[in-house]
Symmetry: C2
Amino acid sequence: MQVEVGPDDPRLGDYVRLRESSLRRSLESERGLFIAEGEKVIRRAVEAGHRPRSFLLAPRWLPGLADVLARWPDVPVYVVDEAVAEQVTGFHVHRGALASLHRGDLPPLADLLALDRVVVLEDVVDHTNVGAVLRSAAGLGWQGALLSPRCADPLYRRAVKVSMGAVFSLPWTRLPGWREAPGLLADAGFTTVALTLADDSEDLDRVAARLVGGKVAVLMGTEGAGLSDHWASSATVRARIPMRAGIDSLNVAAAAAIACYALAPRSAS
Amino acid sequence: MQVEVGPDDPRLGDYVRLRESSLRRSLESERGLFIAEGEKVIRRAVEAGHRPRSFLLAPRWLPGLADVLARWPDVPVYVVDEAVAEQVTGFHVHRGALASLHRGDLPPLADLLALDRVVVLEDVVDHTNVGAVLRSAAGLGWQGALLSPRCADPLYRRAVKVSMGAVFSLPWTRLPGWREAPGLLADAGFTTVALTLADDSEDLDRVAARLVGGKVAVLMGTEGAGLSDHWASSATVRARIPMRAGIDSLNVAAAAAIACYALAPRSAS
């Protein structure tokens, strides 16, 4: 349903000031929405079952998304030129297409604990890193992700974008608390592998060679501080990626890619 | 040498509109400068031998950088409050410290070709990806990087920042041309490993198991298109990271981290 609007129209309220992350965090959680950017990502969001609240499109994106819009005839489609989009959102919308979607419910924790390969993030607060980790995990055949309460929101626009939509295809949910997380995973039958440079850590390759089959959860902490002592010491095994002396630790997204590759379920070769 | 300046002072010309990448690219190449952001990165740049042109600092950063400034008594230090810094640069400078430095000369190609483990990037045009690849390569013990003529500039502010200064510690240079690059590497004695999802590629693990010692160059292309057919087919071997069906390729920075990990020189274990 195409609707004419100007830049100050209150119906564009879902899209205001997309670069102001603290404003957006409270606005999106209050209204239970998130923003998808670009035709491909919008398409993946609706295909994953997220119900659109509205679309904000430059005219040239109408044909490409016609089938999506037709599935939701009652959802408003705000067609604006790129200058108006920029005035509302506060930045140049490179891909010219935005959608506001309902968050819906996260899957229950029990569904995630029933899987065989899950990534577990402790306090990764950067949206780019969360999105990048989920993309790599999905691409490398992991089945789900668990996030500590303080992790950044995977449905934040930047995380969605960096994940290339993996935040929709890879099941994920929040852990109910931080302290009890390692115990929860152990009770569910996971071998927990903590990624850490701690002195008692083993080379990741050796850990990977021992882990044949079974349920595996890899635990990664925020960069800078890395995993907490509590999570690292509670894990079944501590694994390190061999690093060159004197170099800062890898970015958490790079470390996650390596760990998901090294610990992925392998067919016998 | 502390200098008083206002926001419109022409002496701040090195720092204007840092978010406008096309303006910055021409300005920085014309003047032979690059911008380092944050105390840690500035420190690494000067320690790596880059000569500062000037500093732009909020007052609270003066003590922390006092030793660096003392080494360059004739270099102007523009002390401004954060509002002025924002007015000049066009964004909020989170770390409150900027430096403009001379680029200096890149190392000769022959120096890079004499190494044993180099990463070779073909047309990776995103600064974030270039910075992330160099950071992972340095952290995982690779010795240098070669960039095709169209790759993004590792000394662009965003690349420098994402690399955590690895663009200063890891030797890198430009390839003189695109077409002859695979031949150059072969002539220099490298086994060239092309990262590709081409049909005739082998699992990366198998390739890694065969490569014991010797000179190794890993070739990676831009995401989206991936490596060109020319580079992929000219390489000694084509390696693939096993991916889950239906998932987009990994981000090039994630793929690079995995390849640098899998093909890193290993001590016998």
